[in-house]
Structure formats: C-alpha cells, structure tokens
Point group: none
C-alpha cells in the first residue's frame, strides 16, 4: 500500500556529541514528517567539523529525497552550516542585504546595535528560499537540488519548530504524494498505565490502522493514535471511530481529546462557567499557579495564589488555626481543607484549591512518608479532600500532586 518519501536528518553541533546531551529536535521533526507520509531513514549527529559535515550533507542528498539539518546557523565561528552546505552542494554563498537590514532592525528594536559577527547570518546559499525566523536572528533556508529538498533549520526548538511548521511542512506536504498520516492524542488522568491498557487493549488490538501507542509521561497517560488514509478526511474518520470507542470505555478519565494540557482544559471550563479560582500551595511551591497562569488569558479566572511554605504563612495568609497545625501537622487533611477554604475566602473566588505534602527527599517519617500528599477543593457549599501516596522523586511528586489537584477541580467542573 501507500508509498512514502525518504528523509534524513542531520543534527549539527559539537555539544550534541557530549555524553550528557541528546538530539531531541529530530524526534519532533520525525513526528511531523511522518504525519505527511515522509519516513526518516537515517539520522546523523555531527560536530562543528567541516569535513565530516560536508560529507554528511553530500551523502544524504544522494540517498534521500528530503534532507533536514538543524543547528550551526548562529553568529559565531563555530556555526559552519551555511558555508559547508554551500560547498557540499557546489553553490555560491553571498550576503543578502535585505536580511542584513532586517537583522540590524531586529537588534535596534531591542535597543542594541547588531554585533558585526551577526552579519554572517545574512549569508544566503545561491537560489535558496529564505525561511524567516520571528523568534531568533538565524534565518533558515530551503534549497531544491537535483530533485532533493534540503532544509537548513536553526537549532533552538523555539526557533526551529515554528519555522518548520509554517514554512517547510506545507512545501513538503505537497510533494509527499497521496498518503496522509493523521495523529491524535488523548490524555488520561487518574488511572495507571496498566489499568488503561487492560481496559482498552480489547478495542485497539482490533485495528492495524489506526495504530495505537500508550505512553506514560510523568503522571499522565497519553494514548497516541495514528491513522493512514488516501485523504485526511478518510484518516480522520478512522481516528474518530476508534477514539469514540476508547472514550466510551474510559469515561471521565480522558480529559483531553486533542492533546490539550490539563491547565488548558481547566481554563476553558472556568472561562465558560465564568468561575474564579485561587490556589494555596505548600509542597508544590507555586507549580500549580505557574501551570494555570502559563495559559494566555488566565488572568480572567486566576485571581491569587499563595505559596505558604512555612506554618506561619499558612496561618497569617490562609487563616489556618495554629491548633490544627499543632494537632494534625502541616501535612494533614484538616490543614489541606483549611488552606483551600482560607484562600477561597481571602481571594473571594468561586473555588479554592490547596495542596500540602512531603515532596522529599528529606522530611519524611514512618507515619508520614515522602510522597504523602493531601489535596483539597473548596466552594461555597462544601470542601472535599483526597489523600495520596505518590511514588517518585521530588520533582515527580510535585508534578503529580499538581496534576491530581487540577484533576480534582476538573472533575468538579464537569
């Protein structure tokens, strides 16, 4: 069935050859390329090494129909991609005055004079289409060379990704032919990986197309569905059929149907209901507030957050009675509830959400081990709480506690 184009990815930079660094751009690129029916056949990681890079580009161009490089477009001596790619393709490299003017302007808009070395970034390979970079100073290039598409992208993901999505993907999609690959991601909270698989394996194993992969990511289960079809409509119809069956089986535990984050889903529900929210955090230390306010427009519903790390702060800011702290300890159900009620009353919001727990590595005891977390949710009618015992290191306990608290709110908002 459905034929695919071959691609190679070349990641450039000596730092990518260190023992503690890995090239992650190629993973993101692979997913995007797969989605338009292009298969990655080989990946190369090469340092700032003219000879090896030149050979890598030349070999890839001979073997594959699409060649993508990332990195090496910066302003320093080390950034050799432009120069070496030109040589590998036997094309001239020359200064583009328009790009140079834009670069100077970019620096001026930040109140700076462009350092002379940045003019290097205005060098363009003969007949290349220049790809604009709104997030950085390095423009990319798209070159047609003997039937092969060669694409030079910057290394930083936040520059590379929008450039690829806006300027490269549409060009490549055209040449990829009639196979469309469509992906969808469902997100699940409150169920373990095995539980999810046990529930839905009887459904998804019936299908070769779509393909289903279940991934465990911090405390979320991601269900990745990939469908192939002659058209996007056909592939999407296959996805619809399978994802409806999965949703039926998992119910409320599925919180996102198109890869949205928990905090985005909550923002949507709060906005729709015109509700307001305040949060009080101890062990999560601001993580819940930070996640909620990462969403643009969150100032409409997020009113105030309190990171009450010390007992005194819990009392003075949230009105938690000292006797509660004394009798039950800061990590307890009564304190979690008092925190949720306290922040709701203080900020005069519809909901108050609170977390207190022991993130570790220190601070645990036999009675209250590391990973013990209480979450509480208060509205003007009642306050509920949950006790959790979360496995993992400090960072993971904090993240999972924040997720559980947000999920408690999400379920209340349904």
């Amino acid at each position: 069935m459905l034929e695919t184009l071959s691609a190679e990815i070349i990641a450039i930079g000596s730092e990518l050859l260190a023992p503690d660094r890995t090239d992650t751009n190629s993973l993101w690129l692979t997913e995007k390329l797969n989605s338009i029916g292009i298969e990655v056949k080989l990946k190369t990681i090469v340092g700032d090494d003219d000879a090896r890079l030149e050979e890598a580009i030349r070999d890839a161009t001979r073997r594959s129909k699409v060649v993508i490089t990332t990195g090496g477009l910066g302003p320093t001596e080390d950034d050799v991609t432009r120069k070496v790619a030109a040589r590998a393709l036997g094309r001239r490299l020359s200064l583009d005055e328009t790009i140079l003017a834009e670069l100077r302007q970019r620096f001026l808009s930040f109140g700076q004079v462009m350092p002379e070395r940045n003019s290097r970034q205005a060098m363009v390979i003969e007949k290349a289409v220049v790809l604009p970079n709104p997030n950085g100073s390095a423009p990319g290039m798209f070159i047609e060379h003997e039937g092969v598409a060669i694409v030079l992208l910057p290394g930083p993901p936040r520059e590379m990704r929008p450039m690829f999505e806006n300027h490269v993907l549409p060009k490549l999609a055209g040449r990829a032919g009639s196979v469309k690959v469509v992906r969808r991601m469902l997100r699940v909270a409150g169920l373990g990986e095995s539980a999810v698989d046990e529930k839905i394996a009887p459904i998804y194993t019936q299908y070769d197309n779509p393909q289903t992969t279940i991934l465990f990511n911090q405390s979320e289960i991601e269900i990745h569905l990939t469908a192939r079809g002659r058209t996007e409509v056909e592939a999407n119809a296959l996805l619809d059929r399978l994802s409806e069956q999965i949703e039926d089986r998992l119910g409320n535990a599925v919180f996102a149907f198109a890869g949205e984050k928990m905090e985005e889903i909550i923002g949507l529900k709060l906005t729709l209901g015109r509700y307001t929210l305040a949060v009080a955090e101890s062990c999560t230390g601001g993580l819940i507030a930070q996640r909620l306010t990462e969403v643009p427009g969150s100032s409409k519903y997020f009113i105030e957050g309190a990171v009450t790390y010390s007992n005194d702060a819990k009392t003075r800011t949230l009105g938690v009675e000292p006797v509660l702290l004394l009798e039950h300890g800061a990590v307890s159900a009564p304190v979690a509830q008092a925190m949720a009620e306290g922040i709701r009353k203080r900020a005069r919001t519809d909901y108050g959400l609170a977390v207190t727990g022991i993130a570790g590595p220190g601070g645990g005891s036999e009675e209250k081990p590391v990973g013990l977390v209480y979450i509480a949710l208060s509205d003007d009618v009642h306050t509920e709480h949950r006790q959790l015992q979360i496995p993992g290191d400090r960072q993971l306990v904090r993240w999972r506690a924040s997720q559980a608290a947000l999920d408690l709110l999400r379920r209340r908002l349904i």
Copy 2:
C-alpha cells in the same frame, strides 16, 4: 599537542528512527570513550536498511580510527549488522562451530532447544576477535581493519555495557595512549550570546585545548569547556587556567562554575548567610517560587510566595496602595517596589523579590508593550528595581523575567 583518537558510533535498528525513541547507548559509550581520551566525532542512527548501513560503516571506517556499532546482532531477518559489516569491509562471513556449540549449550542450560534461526548468531567475520556475551545470545566482534578498530556490539544495554567494559575498553585504552578528556560548564546570566562571545572570543580562540563551545539556552548562556591532558590533573589545570580568564573577563555575569542552576546557587548563598526570602509574582505566576522550591531543603530559606495576579490581590496581600496602581498601573516601577516591600514585611524575611510585567500575547499597548517587565528587590535598608524589555513568547518572557529577578537577588548576595 595531544592527539585524541577519533571515534564514530553507529546505532542500528528501525525502532530508533521512531518519533518517541532515542539512542541512549551512544551517550554511555561516549562517556567511556572520553574517559580514555577518545573523542566521538559523529553518530549515525540507521534502520534495518542494508544499503545505508553498508555505506555508514564504510564511510566511518575511512574517516575515524574507532568505529562502534550497536544493535542488529539478534537472530531475526532484520538483524543485518554481521552480514552488512562483512560486506562493507570486504571480508568473508562464516559459521563458527565453537560459537554454535556454545549457543546450543546456552539454550540447553535454560531447558530449551536452540531455534534454528539463532545459528545466524554464530556467523563470524573473517579474522574478527569474538567478544563473549554472558548476558545474551549475541556475541560481539572486534575487527582490526587497516589501522581502524571496528567493534560490533549488541543493542540491549545490559549486554552491551559489560561486553564493552570487559573486552573493548582495555583494547582501546592501549591504543589511545594516556590522553584524558575533562569537561566543565560555566553558566552566565544578564548578557546576550553575541555579547558573551565578543568578550571572550579573544581569550578562548587562543586555545585549541581546551575547546570552547557557547550555547544559548532560554536566557542562560552556557560555556562548555573540554580539555585534554596526559592526566586528569593536567586537563583540569588547563580548564582552571582558561575558566579563570573567562571569569575575569565576564565577572559577576558568570553565576555557576560547575553547571549548577540559578536557583541552586541562590539556595546555597541564602543558606550560607542564613537569610530568608519571600517572593511576590504577577506575570511570572508562581514560576519563581516553583523554581526556588524545586531545590531540596529550600524550606530553610523560602518562607512565602504570593501570586498576586489581580490588582485587588496586590493590595490586600502585599499592601500596594490603590493610588499607586491607579496612577502608574500594575506594570510599573513603583508597584514592583511596593510588591517587594510588601511581601518582605508580610513574611518578615530578609529579602523580598517581586516581578510585574506583561507576558503576552495579549495585554500590551504602545506605551506598555508585551515583554515589559519590572523586577524589584527589597531588604531592610533599601529597595532597588530594574526595567526590562524581554523578547520572546509568553513562556519565554516569563522564564527570562524569573531569571532576571533571581539574578538581581544573586548579585545582591555576592
């Protein structure tokens, strides 16, 4: 000068080209190779694809003194490494009766008869030294070919690692001589990538050893130094000499000398001085508190955080006068200062740190554009502030604002 041997690593297997898989064997191998003075110059990841793999092995053998492959030594049709490596080197492949007998014995010891397809694993390349695999059925191979060492290793880490350490590392260490490679990472805040490079290029370009790479990561500049020496002491002395010169040139802007994070450095300084801290955040929405409390033991110095998103919250929790908000707006120097003073007094801490700004994408105006951020730091003597205009999207503005605020505190603590 000290010549290090050059190595290439080829990871083999179609599954390594999926969007959710990365080759981690090469990281482990790189660390081991570096430790005996062998530098990895290029990495290739290739599928079960005869033609591309053959070319990859042939090219690597021509360019580098050590070539290591991982994977593709299993018993199935897909496992093509033996066959393709033999072809790439122009050597015969033949059945080794001793290995075959050992394989049969291995299966028998588990009470099984060897499946016929496993006899493939007894095929040996002409003149190869066979590397025993106590943890699996695939033996490895070590081949001397025109002055190059070619090593074929199995893919599973628990088979690959002991085989490499016991049988390959000693052989390679002999030929590498006594060269040691040592790395160090300096982190810089408050200067741009080009500015850093302009300042220190005159220094680091004087040295081939150590090698210097400058990386831009969110709003931090990372300076990676790699030194080679006959001993670790010698390599470290080279690093000391260069890093001291860089520190002299960049001064206070260098905040970490061994790759520590900003929040770790601040935690260290606060702990040493027995100081306490509270933070008041508007546009960063809890990110500063979250970063500070990510550090184990932060409860010793971090007392309270306030995420005062609404104006009301700034007044009721931080005591910011409504008239200030009315006259100057929430995003202004007087409000940032009042926030820093307010949280310090509320939490009775030595320092109060505050941020207010416009993270975008909405909320900007001509007078107060997206990216305008005020940070302020208060102690019992005085309160200082900075006005910043930060480029980037919402997430980046928030991160850079948090970094600038923490850096303001760091400089005060010096």
